[in-house]
Symmetry: C2
Subunit: 462 residues, 2 copies
């Protein structure tokens, strides 16, 4: 190869790559999310990026997502061998496009080694071969939690989800948000009661799910296309727009249930919703963080009960920043069994990239180093190394400047990288086990003993 010639080294379109300052923000977000997940006892797992294609296609739930297949690029001398092996369709491998079917496969693979209810989190990369559009990635990280039971799963697990969402977004500090809660059984029951035929209900729910995006008129049109009368469509639209605080809405639903609707689904859904809301309150979620919103449906048709969406107030165009719900059959797919579960998902890569663009989140300094030990005189390097190690042992992140640059350039380097403290030692300081510390936040420079230096830096950082 001639060096550098002709090679296109740009990032393949649609694959995100962050600068250090952005990647450090992602690490911080991941740690914050992880801590909240773990505080509720969720345990980490990771499934391979690669699954058998038949696993990923086991349900028609990939929507329009295009799956990436993988195959080894064999050197010519091994092609033959491969042809002999005659790998068929059952040998096809592909990259996972979400973490749902992989979770189902994981549970099927390790059924007897897991404890149920099984509460796991997963923050893996997933891959989608779709056209790369603004804010859409072909590789991105999803932060998912699910809790899955063998038979029965308490509704209090559903109640924990809004508490977890609230804690995460409060910790990340992105402003006011609202977790909007609904129950699919309420929608199903209502649709039944206005006379929508059973096999059209899922389609109608999917239509209604777009209310916020496409507006009332379009929804009406689409419902009528499905054969609903104008009156039915209007009833549905009026229903999903029932407004008010949580108790108002619950009262209205109770009123409807007791006086007008004779649907078991509806009353079951209402009972579930009440239990969940009561749990959310008992978990101390502040009342401005959650609402009942009957228009929330979640497009994915595997949800059967509680559903959630999270809106960043004032930034509604971002769409839901954390969504999920309860399902009955999904996780048991490979076991031929029902296994109820409830989960939520944060599309972290997309969320972070949009929050950065909107100025809601700021990238971090490009280095984790908090201290730079400046190189004043090359022959004092042993002492620079010694003080660097002392600072590290105290838990600080330290860069030692090995290049023999002038002091101005070294300070500039620290400044450019967001390193707050510079430690400066000439011959006299070293002899006295002292040093100068420059705090680049306020340009203050003070002289200290080595021991006091460490304490002073820690004090200023805390």
């Amino acid at each position: 190869m001639v060096k550098g010639e002709k090679i296109n080294f740009s990032i393949p379109s649609g694959f995100p790559e962050f600068l250090p300052s952005e990647k450090r923000l992602e690490c911080y977000l991941l740690e914050t999310i992880r801590k909240v997940f773990e505080s509720y006892g969720f345990t980490p797992i990771e499934t391979p990026a690669v699954e058998r294609l038949e696993v990923l296609q086991a349900k028609n739930n990939q929507g329009d997502n295009i799956i990436y297949g993988i195959a080894p690029i064999l050197p010519p001398n091994r092609q033959l061998e491969k042809e002999k092996a005659g790998e068929g369709i059952s040998e096809l491998r592909a990259l996972k496009f979400d973490q749902t079917l992989p979770l189902a496969a994981y549970i099927a693979r390790h059924l007897n080694d897991l404890t149920f209810p099984f509460a796991r989190y997963q923050m893996d990369m997933v891959f989608r071969g779709e056209r790369a559009k603004d804010g859409r990635f072909r590789q991105f990280r999803q932060c998912d939690i699910d809790v899955v039971a063998r038979r029965e799963l308490s509704l209090l697990y559903d109640a924990q989800m809004p508490a977890i969402i609230s804690e995460i977004f409060e910790a990340i500090n992105i402003g006011d948000f609202l977790v909007r809660i609904n129950n699919r059984k309420i929608l199903t029951g209502f649709f039944q009661s206005v006379g929508v035929t059973q096999h059209k209900i899922k389609t109608c729910i999917t239509i209604v799910d777009n209310l916020e995006k496409v507006g009332e008129a379009k929804i009406k049109q689409n419902l009528e296309k499905e054969g609903l009368s104008l009156k039915q469509a209007q009833k549905i639209i009026d229903f999903v727009q029932i407004d008010g605080d949580v108790d108002d809405i619950l009262d209205k639903l109770k009123h409807l249930s007791q006086n007008f609707l004779e649907s078991e689904q509806f009353s079951l859904g209402l009972m579930e919703l009440e239990t969940v809301i009561s749990g959310v309150r008992n978990l101390g979620v502040s009342k401005n963080r959650f609402a009942v919103d009957l228009s929330i449906a979640r497009g994915l048709d595997y949800y059967t009960g509680t559903v959630y969406e999270t809106t960043l107030l004032g930034h509604e165009t971002l769409g839901s920043i954390c969504s999920g719900g309860r399902y009955e059959e999904l996780v048991g797919t490979f076991l031929g069994d029902k296994m109820p579960g409830v989960g939520i998902s944060i599309g972290l890569t997309r969320l972070m990239s949009r929050l950065l663009k909107a100025g809601i989140l700021q990238a971090l300094p490009p280095t984790p180093a908090q201290v730079m030990v400046v190189n004043v005189r090359e022959d004092l390097m042993p002492f620079y190394l010694e003080i660097s190690q002392k600072l590290r042992q105290a838990g600080l992140n330290v860069l030692t400047c090995f290049d023999n640059w002038n002091l101005k350039k070294q300070f500039q380097l620290a400044d450019k990288q967001g390193i707050r403290f510079c430690v400066i030692m000439g011959y006299e300081e070293v002899k006295a086990k002292k040093c100068s510390m420059k705090d680049l936040h306020n340009r203050e420079q003070i002289e200290l003993t080595w021991d006091k230096l460490i304490r002073e830096i820690i004090r200023r950082l805390s």
Copy 2:
């Protein structure tokens, strides 16, 4: 699809998948490694799993590793569209098999946004389409650091590497280990001085690199195959086996350099090695943690100076658990420029799996939860939720038992998952804002107020 029928949901061969207890250990190892990396000012980056194939094939450094290509599996109605587009070889995408060329591409892509010397760490998954053998994976995580300069890179960066390796393996606490250090220039210089022709030197170094694996006789044979005389081969073998403590070996090398060898490479390598060793000492690395070993060469032919291997003493069969070295041209590949760098790599997936198998590391409990709030009476659930939240706010990981199982079953569940504390409250306790705490480590059960409970659990955990 008929449920569960016929679908092979097993893990594709060669792709690792951990149980929660193992994944938790991996998370712990990653955090430990990350902390050490960051304490030396290395900053995180992540390159996409997918690169253009031409990037991954830019150097012949993939050895026998087979690259996985990827391609979208298009639904039939989009196949045509694809054929029209006529994607050629330049459109081929593939999964990265290591992090070296991706680092070179990253630097080329972001050259003006990075600060040099650029010190980065990366703990991404890499993929190799090789035959899955014991301990060999097709997907695994590598923990790499490299520091790269535009022009000159101080040898003190080389000196930091053994310090970093030592801190990591001391923190992980896997027993005694030894970082073995050498310099390729010393080998090259010696080979020159015994008359090995220039173009055979790299091959001979690769041969010698296998000394420990295949033994002296085989090495001799292989060197003779390359046209070396028995005498030359013997000289080389005697040389790389020079034994003794660090100063002994340095003295012997100095003696050779001053009296017998007239090789610039040799004396340059020796000077570099002395500088590195002196830095390692100034960084306070304990003397039983590192050695000079002239037989270390690293097979990969891009190393040009310092090279490292790390041996777990008493477990030599594991091979090197952390290796690396200095290179000159690799990272500048796409820029057509020399960019000196030095780095090390830990093959974490393989290392962890082998250390687990050898009993050197133990998996963690399968849940991060430290406390389980027991469900004594369903109607007290609001209080169970309240105390759970109080414990979480104090930084503890808490499971609330929502299932109405008998107490024995709940304690068993806690025990099975390695949850240490159970919090038990009946009606009387709740009324008095008290509870019982059972410590499953010693089976002790005590009664406490809620406030004291939190302090007592934190005390016992610390």
